[in-house]
Amino acid sequence: MSEQKLQSQTVQTTGHAWDGDLQEYNNPLPAWWVYTFYATVVFALVYWTIYPSWPFGKGWIGGVSQITYVNSEGETKTHSWNTRALLMEDLNQAAAAQKPYFDKVSAMPYEQIAKDPEMNGFILSAGKALFADNCAPCHQAGGQGVVSFFPNLTDDDWLYGGSYDTIHETLMGGRRGYMPAFGEVLDGEQVDQLANYVASLSGIEHDAGKAAAGNVLFHSDTAACYYCHTSEATGRKDMGAPNLTDNIWLWADVPAATGGEGKVAAIRGVIANGLNKGVMPAWSGRLSPEQIKVLTVYVHELGGGQ
């Protein structure tokens, strides 16, 4: 009780009383708090002057801080500070740092890039980042692909060709795989014969009698397989028709199938149902010509370039 009395003598009250004697103490804020508050007010005033802040008319006050950059039209522009102008400045700086390399990339022929150790280092690091961002979701981080979805880029078996020019073409314009569903024009027996013949080409366990009949069918105009896969069944790269003789499988998951009958069944499925997949997006609109050239060399060097 005595303590309360003491406080009432030293601390001011707000000066008014309710119900006769109900009073409110007026403890002032600590000085450090008050001065910090004043400092934030000053900070805000400075900030408003430098950076875009208050709305004004149909726009806003831009602030005194400025950014100078060069745009894609080659014009040098000065703009009041904002994140989009800052990005332009960042990109300018990055482009300047990378320019010597990218200039070299655009000027050098593919073969020379591959031989130049310094450029090779650049391709490996720049290509790795580009590949991880754009290609790895389908072709996987190491380029090994996914059976029955996306081709392996590390072997020397190519659907559309493994030269620098064809890889570049594939990257620029994309690809679209297609094979008609032969189950709609052939009967089950014929499809089975073809599957056995295709299995025989890769030395997979098969029914020799059926394979012989499949051989005839393959080269006949009834099934006309040879149109795209050629008479030797080695495929036509201009149509993306795969080589059927190398025991490398993309669409039919032969490696995972067990036993000769299972492997033949996997092939039969593709022949009967056809393919309307194997879509590779076009990258010409998304990546720059230099980036595509880097990726061309990178993919070529994954192991299977021709």
Binding site: T14, G57, V279
Partner: protein, 248 residues
């Protein structure tokens, strides 16, 4: 002191205190909201942005239903790293017909603002059914039922009517249709006509065959159609790379 006098005066007049409290609070609102009705620089003037077709819009509904936005943003910020990974920064104009927008701020998965055209339809389907079969390190859940669940198209028109109420220019009358032809062109306007919604949806799904299965229209068809249009409406090659600097 003068201040003490006012203090007491306000505290003992509850009506006055309510009025002054309202005034103090409304300052924040006035400063932040009122200028938006006058500023005309925030939405960039670009060609190509249109409301979603009925199929894309249904895909968007599924995107929201499945909570995709809890892990995927749709907002590429104007930073160098984001430009390199995702492409041109998002424009306000690009989400002008989104209700609600899907900008988001949390990325467990990658940003999807420009995912359209980056992967094949087949990749999307397989990735939705079993994400780890495509991206081994992925933590995305499997969404296999999208492929097996037929898309409910019976309420497509009603959903578009609801969006029309909040300002999306889907057309109901001939006059609105003509306005859309003038604004979006001959090919887009029919897609925005509510009376033809169901027909348009079926046609687009059958033609696009987004899920790779021709036997029917699944929820996957709609979702992939939506994902494939994200960020593709504006052709940035038509604009200088600093064309939108003045809008911030």
């Amino acid at each position: 002191m003068n201040i003490n006098f006012k203090h007491e005066w306000i505290e003992t007049n509850i009506g006055l205190m309510a009025v002054l409290t309202m005034l103090a609070i409304s300052v924040g609102g006035l400063v932040e909201i009122a200028p938006l009705f006058f500023i005309d620089k925030t939405i960039e003037k670009v060609e190509g942005v249109r409301p979603y077709t009925p199929l894309e819009q249904r895909g968007r509904d599924i995107f929201q239903r499945e909570g995709c936005y809890t892990c995927h943003s749709q907002m590429i910020r104007p930073f160098r790293d984001e430009k390199l990974r995702y492409g041109h920064y998002s424009l306000a104009a690009e989400s002008q017909y989104d209700h609600p927008f899907q900008w988001g701020s949390k990325r467990t998965g990658p940003d999807l603002a420009r995912v359209g055209g980056k992967y094949s339809n087949e990749w999307h389907v397989q990735h939705m059914v079993a994400p780890r079969s495509m991206v081994p390190e992925s933590v995305m859940p499997n969404y296999p039922w999208l492929l097996s669940t037929p898309l409910d198209i019976s309420d497509t028109a009603s959903r578009m009517k609801a969006l029309r109420k909040v300002g999306v220019p889907y057309s109901l009358t001939q006059a609105e249709y003509d306005a859309n032809v003038a604004k979006f062109g001959e090919t887009v306007a029919p897609q925005l006509h509510i009376p033809d919604a169901q027909k348009n949806l079926v046609e687009q799904a059958n033609f696009g065959n987004y899920d790779g299965d021709r036997s029917g229209i699944s929820e996957m068809d709609a979702l992939v159609a939506y994902l494939q249009v994200l960020g593709t409406m504006v052709d940035f090659s038509k604009y200088a790379d600093d064309a939108f600097v003045d809008n911030r």
